[in-house]
């Protein structure tokens, strides 16, 4: 038997191609006779379109065509609501989805108004300047609290008060709990998340082959199958006529799951209309407007505790900025609402949110997907309560953790997957203990901090807990096939954007079929290879598709044993699989290669028994009943310059439990990357809009992604509580690194600068030197 690959730090199958510049990304697709698209985008946030004159642009040499909304005729339609509202009593949801190009009104800066098709992107951009646009500017809806006022301008003329949604979820009776409380603390919090900014922007290449009747689309999407089915419907094609390929994709982090982006309709439409390939590659400037992002919520939250610091209840009322349209439903604010509960016993909960339309780009999930906002609120409330009650910050958390024997633990509200928010498994206290140990919690406060403070150095420690709902349904599928050469093909419907699926899925298959990991060829994101599945989001790829791969590999394993038993005329129990072959146990020389069996299973002559499927292949599906809940604790020591308010992270620790681990190297990478994005969110990245809805920092020079100098060395440790909801026992890990970084920064900075003594709370994220200066000196 070969060494077990599942759980090992296996090198990635996909890396050799990526490292040598041989991997195919969307912009690498070169086709003869290609047209290059550029979009004219609105330069006001809110306005009525009077006229768009494209005459001069059409006349420019090298321009093939210029189109506006009306030219799409019957193909002009608002996009679908991707995620309808969950079944929550009393939910209000006003769906208003984006359109391929604006027709009557523009609702955010960067909304597409016209498309130029030209012989090069250079010429297409030249022609954008030739287009004459007459837009009557309207007052922009920017501020959330003003937006819901009766006299506010409206993003959608028929939605008064800009109410995109209104949801209340409760557990127990908060008012009664508060009445009994020894202590109540309330604050207003603001948490702003930002742009995912993958280094590869979005891009689409569409080719219509009129003779074959085949539309092929290369797209940076995280959800190729839904895109294929949707586009087939949009253009009246049979689904088999549309092939969507998500090749190597340069990072996604959520926004690449959105569909249908206007370009995803217009680019294929143009290819169909002209019978010529079309390429559109979003540039970095467009990315700040044309790709969805996350943004802010304002929470008025209150916590009620007993005298020992045990939580009796939490009440939260918040506003959520959903941008100009809400195709992704309530996922982000529901995540905030649910994830606020964290790893804690909160017997009484009363949470209400209002999602608000604004004249800003569309909000859809970005790594964490609203979880950050909720975690910030509860973690900060606990810090404030700890201070008020004079309880240690780690201790107040410990006292409120859900005990290990309470799982599955039902929070009695509805989660984003429409299922009750129930935690499948967990063991939280050892995670906290481990984080306390690794950060050196006790010695920091008793020795290091006083010593450094005496030297005039301002260091502080933060510690924050979180849970993450991962691996939600509905389902994914996988096809596993042993080829005649003995190598194994695996196809799934999800897309991949760097998560290492080519390797982690290969590890699962390698163990089941006794082959080497490099001999398993995984393909994701090509609808001609596999056309069932939902996509890569919500930390679900490894959990849901991984288990489907496992099921399919198991089924193929059974076929292998069956056919090998026939081959050797022995019992299946006498066989073992390994090193790419099946052997009879204890009989040297009695072995047959998998490839030979594959050929045997697909004979050219002779008869097969009725009911026999050819080949060594199986397609299986996996759908978990509900999501698996991962959890963790981050801790950090930071040094702050008390005059310039710049800071340096001295130590960063993550202890994480995502169930059974497939590949620790890949897992560590996911955690590191998440923390880096969390650090960006906490202290560097902020989308700054002015009162006209103009984004003031639409460049990577001003939207500050952390570099290698801002991200510290991150120490990671793991505990393992397998999920009972899937045979592999795994939970998702994609978003965990990013989730609790905001409250960690706020807490550690407060500690470093002794802000508690000054009665200053840090109740917002992102922070910055400038903001700290304002808060501390005002």
């Amino acid at each position: 038997m070969s060494t077990r690959q599942f759980g090992a730090p296996v090198r990635r199958n996909e890396d050799a191609r990526l490292l040598s510049g041989q991997a195919l990304f969307v912009d690498d697709v070169e086709l003869p006779n290609m047209m290059y698209a550029a979009f004219l985008r609105a330069n006001v946030a809110h306005g009525r379109i009077n006229a768009i004159d494209v005459t001069a642009a059409r006349a420019r040499e090298g321009v093939i065509a210029v189109y506006t909304a009306g030219d799409l005729e019957q193909y002009w339609a608002p996009g679908p609501v991707l995620v309808p509202p969950p079944p929550i009593a009393g939910v209000v949801f006003n769906a208003r989805t984006q359109v391929p190009m604006a027709k009557d009104k523009v609702r955010h800066v960067g909304e597409a108004l016209a498309v130029v098709l030209a012989e090069s992107r250079y010429i297409a951009e030249d022609a954008l300047n030739d287009i004459d646009v007459d837009i009557e500017a309207l007052p922009a809806v920017v501020d959330l609290e003003q937006a819901v006022m009766a006299d506010s301008a409206t993003v959608h003329d028929d939605v008064r008060g800009n109410i995109a949604a209104h949801v209340r979820q409760t557990r127990g009776n908060y008012a009664a709990a508060k009445a009994k409380a020894a202590h109540v603390a309330s604050r207003r919090f603001h948490y702003d998340h930002g742009a995912s900014s993958p280094i590869e922007t979005r891009g689409i290449v569409a080719r219509w082959d009129a003779r074959a009747g085949q539309l092929t689309i290369w797209d940076t999407t995280q959800a190729p199958v839904f895109l294929r089915n949707g586009l087939a419907g949009w253009f009246g094609l049979s689904e088999r006529q549309v092939r969507v390929i998500a090749p190597f994709v340069g990072g996604g982090f959520g926004p690449k799951i959105m569909m249908f982006y206007p370009e995803e309709v217009v680019v294929p439409w143009a290819a169909l209309k002209h019978n010529r390939p079309v390429k559109w590659i979003e540039d970095r400037l467009e990315h700040f407007f044309a790709t969805t992002q996350e943004r802010g919520q304002t929470h008025d939250a209150e916590i009620a505790l007993d005298a020992d610091g045990r939580i009796l209840g939490v009440k939260d009322v918040f506003l959520h900025d959903t941008g100009a349209y809400n195709p992704y439903g309530l996922t982000v604010p529901i995540n905030s609402q649910c994830t606020l509960l964290g790893p804690y016993v909160i017997p009484n909960y009363d949470s209400t949110f209002t999602a608000v339309f604004t004249n800003k780009p569309i909000v859809t999930p970005y790594r964490g997907a609203g979880r950050q906002h909720g975690v910030f609120v509860i973690e900060r409330l606990l810090d404030i309560a700890a201070r008020d009650l004079n309880i240690d910050r780690a201790e107040i958390r410990r006292r409120n953790l859900i005990p290990a024997d309470a799982f599955p633990y039902n929070n009695e509200i509805i989660y984003q997957d429409f299922a009750p928010l129930s935690y499948d498994s967990g063991n939280y206290e050892p995670i906290l203990d481990k984080a306390i140990e690794l950060i050196g919690y006790k010695s920091f406060f008793t020795e290091e901090q006083p010593k450094l403070r005496a030297q005039g150095r301002f260091v502080g420690l933060g510690i924050a807990c979180y849970v993450e709902g991962t691996g939600i349904g509905p389902y994914e599928g996988a096809k596993v096939q042993i080829q005649n050469n003995g190598k194994v093909n695996v196809a799934t419907g999800i897309g991949t954007q760097g998560q290492g699926h080519f390797t982690s899925f290969a590890q699962i298959v390698a163990d089941q079929l006794g082959v080497a990991v490099p001999d398993v060829d995984v393909i994701t994101g090509d609808t001609d290879q596999f056309y069932w599945g939902a996509g890569t989001f919500a930390s679900r790829g490894a959990v849901v598709a991984g288990n489907a791969v496992n099921e399919a590999a198991l089924a193929v394993r059974k076929k292998v044993l069956k056919i090998a038993a026939e081959h050797f005329e022995c019992a299946e129990e006498d066989l073992e699989i390994g090193n790419g072959q099946v052997s009879v146990v204890g009989v040297p020389g009695q072995s047959v290669k998998l490839g030979t069996l594959a050929m045997k299973a697909n004979p050219m002559r002779g008869a097969v028994k009725p009911g026999t499927e050819p080949g060594l292949e199986s397609t299986q599906y996996f759908g978990p009943p509900s999501g698996a809940t991962a959890s963790g604790v981050h801790a950090m020591i930071v040094e702050v310059d008390p005059q310039t308010f710049t800071l340096q992270v001295l130590k960063y620790v993550v202890v994480h439990d995502c169930g059974t681990v497939i590949n620790p190297l890949i897992l560590a990478g996911q955690i590191h990357g998440g923390v880096a994005q969390g650090i960006g969110n906490a202290f560097y990245e902020q989308l700054v809009f002015d009162s006209d809805g103009q984004l003031l920092n639409a460049s990577l020079a001003d939207y500050l992604l952390p570099t290698s100098l801002e991200v510290p060395h991150i120490e990671t440790a793991h505990t393992v509580t397998p999920s009972p909801l899937n045979p592999l026992g795994i939970k998702g890990a994609g978003e965990a690194g990013a989730i609790p970084v905001g409250p960690l920064f706020a807490q550690a900075i407060e500690d470093a600068l002794g802000l508690a003594d000054k009665k200053i709370d840090l109740l917002e994220i992102p922070l910055s030197p400038n903001r700290l200066f304002e808060l501390i000196t005002r």
Partner: protein
């Protein structure tokens, strides 16, 4: 304005290419779409992200801030010149071993920057690596595994017999 075009002769990865290019053609686009050396990636086109970094006359530069017309008579190395999937450069090999890439989009720029850095700084410490890497944005890895990979590559390039992985000490 009539299109201003120029004849250039430029050496890329040891091959001399003669082309006629429009004055405004960015070197990044020239490499990717004229020479079909698509390993050089484009992330921002304003000189911040570093994905388009190539080695120009021995020096790491942003190809999105250079015009193809300027490269006449010059020597360029792109990621395609560093190693092949079958025969990776020690730096590429170390990146693979240390999981120094996830989506792989920023990776070619990282490799080009680090190749020259290691030639100039054969035994770098972590701080030097982070400083040298600071002009290459990576949104996936948090940089830590890249730093480890560069340390491992440095060891191997200095002592080719040394095969020890830094995290397996």
């Amino acid at each position: 304005m009539s299109t201003d075009r120029h004849d250039i002769s430029v050496t890329v990865n040891g091959t001399v290419y003669r082309r006629n290019v429009e004055a405004r053609l960015l070197l990044s686009d020239f490499l990717r779409h004229d020479l079909l050396l698509a390993g050089t990636h484009v992330g921002c086109e304003h000189g911040v992200c570093g994905a388009c970094t190539v080695i120009y006359d021995g020096v790491a530069i942003r190809s999105c801030l250079t015009f193809a017309a300027q490269t006449d008579g010059h020597d360029i190395m792109t990621v395609e010149g560093l190693g092949t999937p079958e025969n990776l450069h020690p730096l590429q090999e170390a990146m693979r071993e240390c999981h120094g890439l996830q989506c792989g989009y920023c990776t070619p720029g990282v490799l080009m920057t680090m190749k020259v850095f290691l030639e100039e700084t054969p035994s770098p410490d972590e701080a030097q690596i982070r400083e040298a890497l600071s002009g290459n944005l990576c949104r996936c890895t948090g940089y830590q595994h890249i730093v480890e990979a560069v340390q491992l590559a440095a060891q191997r390039l200095q002592h080719p017999s040394s095969l020890q992985h830094p995290t397996q000490k």
